[in-house]
């Protein structure tokens, strides 16, 4: 689960990392007030940043610097009018703009190959790390944190010297790098990124100029499998940016992802569900969704999955593909029969059920006049054909539906 920059900064702050102050606002007048407070606290510039869960905010005009409260309000108004990669901007972060001397990249990710937390640092901060990885991979320094002890001091020092952050910033860098991994461990994050980690110029209490490290942006992805033990983090889920259908699927315990095609897919098993999508495409169709009903699914779950699929008006045909292992084919067949009896909209359906209790399923499906298929390839071809036919005749309402 991705969380917003402001929430990510809160998690960093909780581990004692240096994060400049910020406020989150939802309107231009609120942004103005927040900017006024920042100026009153000594800021000479403020930054207004769109809070959206997609990358490329800067390029899309979602980040602006303002020299006075009026400019901040105008910037907020402009940004709140944006859609960034299809996501309307609803929230803004407002805070003092840092006086940046130099930018670095620092990130911690869960690495599959080493099966360790890998910490990466680069002196080329402020740009996309994927870009650096392509153009100048040698500029990224990586090391594996200890699987049980986290990032050790010497490892953090090694990274600091590698990116040229020895000297006066060594101690702070060690604290930040260790704090990044601690943030990951404390919150079961997959990824914690600070980009840029910057040397910023500030004024000390005695008026003298000082330079210190600050985390100017933050990106955190949480491990969905671990959210059960972090109820406070689950609450950070940004429902504004989530499709209601996604939420419904999550509540039903169904893995569902909406796509742009016309052929709804209901499959048991994630790998088989992806394969079914791939075969629909290969047969000339476009899948409308990824849907894995999971292992051992029963009739009620089948019905719920059917509702999710039919909620998409673009769906003109449905392909059901079940390889019964734990899942019993006759249970699925019964679920399909029940679901069809009550569904609002009648769309052609091609059903393939093999494996456990496939024969009972076949009998049930035949008795209820379902179109069936034996092989996966055959099922995909039939579904694509049905969708094509439906597209020519237009959608039908279901005369059998009682609602």
């Amino acid at each position: 689960m991705k969380i917003q920059e402001a929430d990510a900064k809160s998690l960093l702050l909780a581990q004692g990392l240096p994060v400049p102050a910020w406020e989150v606002v939802r309107s231009a007048p609120e942004a103005r007030a927040a900017a006024e407070r920042a100026f009153a606290a000594g800021a000479s510039l403020v930054v207004v940043k769109a809070q959206v869960l997609v990358g490329g905010r800067g390029k899309a005009g979602g980040v602006k610097v303002a020299a006075d409260a009026g400019a901040a309000e105008a910037a907020a108004k402009a940004i709140l009018a944006l859609e960034i990669k299809g996501i309307p901007v609803r929230k803004l972060l407002v805070g003092p703009a840092a006086d940046i001397a130099r930018e670095y990249y620092l990130g911690a990710i869960l690495d599959r190959v080493s099966r360790r937390i890998v910490v990466m640092a680069s002196a080329e901060g402020g740009v996309e790390i994927e870009e650096v990885a392509k153009v100048n991979p040698g500029a990224i320094h990586r090391l594996e944190a200890h699987p049980h002890l986290g990032l050790l001091d010497w490892q953090a020092r090694q990274l600091a010297f590698a990116v040229g952050l020895g000297g006066p910033h060594l101690r702070d860098f060690v604290q930040v790098a260790k704090g990044l991994v601690a943030t990951m461990l404390a919150n079961d994050a997959d990824l914690v990124e600070v980009n840029p980690l910057a040397i910023v110029r500030e004024t000390a209490a005695d008026g003298s100029p000082v330079e210190r490290l600050a985390c100017l942006d933050a990106k955190i992805t949480l491990d969905d499998s671990a959210l059960f033990r972090h109820p406070a983090l689950e609450a950070l889920r940004d429902l504004d940016e989530e499709d209601p259908v996604d939420r419904q699927a999550r509540d039903e315990g169904i893995n569902f992802i909406k796509l742009d095609g016309s052929i709804g897919c209901m499959v048991n098993g994630a790998g088989l569900a992806m394969t079914t999508m791939d075969l629909v495409k290969r047969a000339g169709g476009e899948p409308a969704n990824f849907l894995d009903i999971g292992g051992g699914a029963r009739a009620d779950k089948v019905a719920a999955a059917m509702r999710l699929i039919l909620a998409d008006p673009q769906v003109t045909a449905i392909l059901v593909n079940i390889f019964g292992g734990i899942t019993r084919g006759d249970e699925v067949a019964r679920g399909l029969i029940e679901a069809r009896a009550v569904q609002a909209r009648d769309v052609p359906m091609v059903v393939r059920i093999v494996g456990t209790n496939a024969e009972e399923a076949a009998a049930l499906l035949e008795a209820n006049h379902f179109a069936t298929a034996s092989s996966l390839d055959d099922a995909a071809a039939k579904a694509v054909a049905a969708a094509g036919a439906a597209a020519r005749t237009g959608p039908l309402t279901n005369p059998a539906a009682d609602r």
């Binding site: 869960l110 599959r112 190959v113 099966r115 360790r116 937390i117 994927e130 699987p147 049980h148 990951m184 461990l185 079961d188 997959d190 491990d223 969905d224 499998s225 671990a226 059960f228 033990r229 893995n255 992802i257 796509l259 499959v267 048991n268 098993g269 994630a270 790998g271 088989l272 569900a273 992806m274 394969t275 999508m277 791939d278 075969l279 629909v280 495409k281 290969r282 899948p287 990824f290 894995d292 292992g295 390889f323 019964g324 292992g325 734990i326 093999v354 494996g355 456990t356 092989s375 996966l376 390839d377």
Partner: protein, 294 residues
Amino acid sequence: MSILVGRETRLVVQGITGREGEFHSRAMLDYGTRIVAGVTPNKGGQQTLDGRVPVFDTVAEAVRETGANTSCIYVPAAGAPDAILEAAGAGIETIFCITEGIPALDMLRAVAVVQAAGARLIGPNCPGATSPGRAKVGIIPGSVHREGGAGVVSRSGTLTYEAVQAMTDAGIGQSTCVGIGGDPIIGTTFLDVLKLFAADPETDAIVLIGEIGGSAEEEAAAWAAEHLRGVPMAAFIAGRTAPEGRRMGHAGAIISGGSGTAADKIAALEAAGIRVAGSPTEIPAILRAAGYRA
């Protein structure tokens, strides 16, 4: 012979008295797997599965009393990492973890302990392994298999059954079929299993079934290019149509930052001389085209 499971497997099932554990243990017993013990804390001393399997409180006791050398874990996600550590601590050599939904950092910690103990973990979130005619451990339906010489390794569950069924239908039997699991942090990788197959005299062809996410398929392809030149191979990669940035069911199946795409993996496999099927049903034909005569 076979890899990971076979006639020498003496299985202890952790979580044997749970719904899943009991259901699949029965199927394993019916298949002929030698289940020597079950473990459920506080149920030690009972007998389960119609009196065929003794239950112990701890894995250590099960090992001591029955000589178990392999474990299969059906414990729910909150307790599964501890179950893995318990198996490793009790000297179990091969640990299958079927449980899905285990936090990745728990697995990271557990894998390090398992490695230090010199044990092998398969999974988590995996369907297990079957050596047809010998033993099956996990949840793969026994009916899809046929004895033979093709090794199968996969990140998926039902997709594997689909592929294996296609092979069986085409008369290509399997030496061992291994599901390594769909999570980002797993105990045994494609590469590990390829090495085991390469060393197994009875495995004479290999099928690799991957999916989007990570780079384990690429890593395996690179090794195969160097070490498996003479072995007939086929591959399948699920997720050609998967969108970026969305987790496709499996925690590990996600394209992020443009890496882990099906196209990358297919290119790597083809570059290693391994043909990639467009559908699981094409696997038998690819193996035959690669010279396999089973």
